[in-house]
């Protein structure tokens, strides 16, 4: 691709020293950086979650000011969504898409470098937003939750300005990364690699990238209007000045609902690779899965106000959003059926990636059915803003996004490092992680129904016993990730050699080219494009 002279010089190996990373234009190095960043931030976001669960361990204020508590809630969500799941998914895309479609690298390598290096800047901004309120005269902490609803977000202190800039930087980063991935998929495929021969992971990222390009600017616009309301005397969202506080909610959720699919789709792509591999039979319904994603993409863009059933919308729009939301169950149901039918009459084995994939099918189905319950307007007028909603979206986001990323890590670590991970430790991690996850979040459905709202620092003793269970399980859940870290480090350092195709069933069904390369792959993946028959 590049005619750069320096580039030609070290064609056969990576440059030495810190420069290799700072100035990298190599898709694998950038992928590694994305993944490392995401794993680091998982521990930061996880630490705030542990703090939240410690505070909720029992009734009474344990050690947090209410505003600091809700600041932790805000940070936790922003970090998990923007600094863990999205970068990790982008890291997988960077690593795998060029290898899958037979390209030497990403289409826009320098842009790739920029979109990664914006992330640490955003992370620093976000951390500053928490520190700043401790200085005198800077007002209250960002206590709004990740939805940043005005007027509360207008009342908040200087920390909010840092959050707004964080969102700006993250938005630029994800738009650039998405453009790069979409262009790579559309332009860099090897001869014969038609769209409908692509591995499902590429399709999933194609839809994800397009979605992000549509929605990220809307969020950026929304928070910019917030910034203007805060400092420049506009009143977009201030009723006293003729503005409308609900307008912000529409802008936020026009971004926010499709964002859910941005988090979900890459992991759906991953398990659409894993399940055929370990069932040793082709993906059931390749075309209907692509079609399902297209329908999800479309419906997802017009369902946003189901997060706002309680703002007093008229009957017409409320009914529209309810029907669209319920209809989303169709593509989601189709996806899950395709996975189940891929396993059906297969010859399954249960290595760690497959264990995760199977548990995702079950637990994500559960998020789907509670999603249907929430979609029914009259019932949501009771559920809304309760812990029931928190339980629902953690079942959607943890199996639907995070566990898919873990599955991907186990599935591709042998390819990336050339070493097999420790299967026994992998299985221990799986059971520990998934059991603790369920013990943490399943009870939340019940104390949500019983009347515990979300985003509260202290609560009535009626909710005490299940909260204590949630907290204890959450600590076990949190700690399990140290084992994951250990497994990854151990695999990077060494282990049984993996070979080009570590999984017997790899390459069943779809014609991805990643398994034809050595493990670890050469620095420039496919210097000359292979031909797909």
């Amino acid at each position: 691709m590049s005619t750069d002279v320096a580039h030609e010089e070290h064609h056969h190996g990576p440059p030495k020293g810190i420069g290799r990373w700072l100035f990298s234009t190599n898709h694998k190095d950038i992928g590694t950086m994305y993944l490392t960043f995401a794993l680091t931030m998982l521990f930061v976001g996880g630490a705030s979650a542990m703090y939240i669960r410690a505070e909720l361990f029992m009734p009474g204020i344990q050690f947090m000011e209410p505003d600091f508590y809700n600041n932790m809630v805000t940070n936790h969500a922003l970090i998990m969504v923007f600094a863990v799941v999205m970068p990790a998914a982008a890291g997988l895309a960077n690593w795998m898409i060029p290898m899958m479609i037979g390209a030497p690298d990403m289409a826009l390598p320098r842009l790739n470098n920029l979109s990664f290096w914006l992330l640490p800047a955003a992370a620093v901004m976000l951390i500053l937003s928490t520190i700043v309120p401790f200085m005198p005269g800077t007002g209250t902490a960002v206590n709004t939750g990740w939805t940043l609803y005005p007027p509360l977000s207008i009342q908040a202190g200087m920390g909010m300005d840092f959050v707004i800039f964080t969102v700006h930087i993250l938005g630029v980063s994800s738009i650039l990364a998405s453009i790069n991935i979409v262009v790579t998929i559309l332009n860099m495929r090897a001869p014969g690699m038609t769209l409908f021969k692509m591995p499902m992971f590429c399709w999933a990222w194609l839809f994800t990238g397009l979605l992000l390009i549509i929605i990220a600017p809307v969020l950026a616009g929304g928070v910019t209007m917030l910034l203007f309301d805060r400092h420049f005397g506009t009143s977009f969202f201030d009723a006293a000045g003729g503005g409308d506080p609900v307008l912000f909610q529409h802008l936020f959720w026009f971004f926010g609902h499709p964002e859910v699919y941005v988090l979900l789709l890459p992991s759906i792509g991953v398990i659409a690779m894993i399940i055929p591999t370990f069932s040793r039979k082709p993906l059931f319904g390749y075309k209907s899965l692509v079609g399902g994603m297209a329908v999800l993409f479309t419906l997802g863009l017009v369902a946003w106000a189901h997060h706002q059933y309680t703002v007093g919308m008229a009957a017409g729009p409320t009914t529209w959003f309810m029907i669209i939301t319920i209809l989303i169950s169709i593509p989601v149901g189709l996806m899950l059926l395709n996975f189940m039918m891929t396993m059906w009459r297969g010859a399954m084995t249960f290595e760690t990636p497959m264990l995760f994939a199977v548990s995702i099918v079950l637990m994500f189905s559960f998020a789907g059915v509670t999603g249907i319950m929430l979609a029914v307007v009259p019932a949501d007028l009771e559920y809304h803003d309760s812990m029931f909603v928190v339980a629902h979206f953690h079942y959607a986001l943890i199996p639907g996004a995070l566990l898919g990323l873990f599955a991907a890590a186990f599935y591709w670590l042998p390819k990336w490092t050339g070493n097999m991970y420790d299967e026994r430790l992998g299985k221990i991690f799986f059971w520990w992680n998934v059991i603790a996850f369920n013990l943490t979040f399943f009870p939340q459905h019940f104390y949500g129904l019983a009347g515990m709202p979300r985003r509260i620092v202290d609560y009535n003793p009626a909710f005490a016993d299940l909260n204590m269970l949630s907290s204890i399980a959450a600590f076990a859940y949190g700690i399990s990730h140290l084992l994951f870290l250990y497994i990854v480090i151990k695999t990077v350092k060494g282990g049984v050699k993996a070979g080009n195709k570590p999984w017997e069933g790899a390459q069943v069904g779809t014609t991805g080219l990643e398994w034809d390369l050595s493990s670890p792959p050469p620095f420039h993946s496919y210097a000359t494009p292979p031909v797909v028959k």
Partner: protein, 373 residues
Amino acid sequence: MNYIKNKIASATGVVSSLLVNNAYANKYNLPEPADPVVQQIFDLHMMTSLIATIIMVIVTLIVVYSLIVHRKDKGYVPDQNFHKSWFGRWAWLLVPIFVLGVDFAIAKSAHHTLDTIFDEHAEADMTVKITGSQWKWSYEYLDSGVKFTSNLNKDLTPEDEFYLRDVDKPLVLPVNTKVRLLHTTTDVLHDWWVPAIAFKVDAIPGYITETRTEILREGTYRGQCAENCGTGHAFMPIVVKAVSKEKFAEWRDQQVAAAAAAAAEASSDKEWTMEEMMAKGEEAFNKTCAACHQVTGEGVPGVFKALKGSAKATGDVKVHIQTVLNGVAGTAMAAWKDQFNDLEIAAIITYERNAWGNNTGDVVQPKDVAAER
């Protein structure tokens, strides 16, 4: 066959009574409904929960069967052409049709309740305006003019049954009466949520949103603010006392009479003494102003100004009265002129000018306040 049916019926009976009828009802499920619309919502919730459970059972059975049978270590040979079978060819159509059927059933059963909720011509026998503000609820009975503010009961500890679920003055409503509830706010978003008697809608600045309730049984119903409103969000509970129509009328007349007496007292020519005003002022201050300025008058540095030794609380009385009546624009200090009568404001100001070593010796009289309104 009948035997099995009976078994199933009794089993579902046990499960649903666990969920609905006994003490667990409040602990693990939506509370027992005490309003016809909430009853409909509850039934809808139980129905969708049941559908959700059935779907989960089916999905789990399919997956578990597959996990047991279709394994390599059992020597199962993968069926490489399964996706080309008739099912493989038509699943993309069959599954959406099946799911659409379920969706349709759910949407249809929600339809009637939705119509009730959105009924713009619904009649009401009385109307209560509920105003959320950081961090308390104010109620105004639009028919009788009775109004008051309801604050968290701060005396309870985490061991008490109604910790964070008790207030100084509950909302009193008659049973079997259609009540329209209007919601609004003076500052940020709030949400008045008492799950047993009414579904919730947000209180939004510049909007008046509406819910309705028709309480079926006498009793005490509890809830709390559901929409994040900042520092005190966990600390603005709601208590509704539902009483018979007769008792309600009695209570209402008492409130009207008490308000009239208080107004008369406030506008009387009586000269109030320092002791009287300090006692009244301390009570009102600790209830309303101490949330920010603290009982010690020292405030919270950098956030809520101290009144102890403050220039305004020890300087010109008129400026002090103006500040309390009209608030300080653009800060958390609200205008209090609509919440208190002249006597109460005079008492609070007297208290502020003489407590915590502010010893100015001023006794502010109601007429001084009236002059500044």
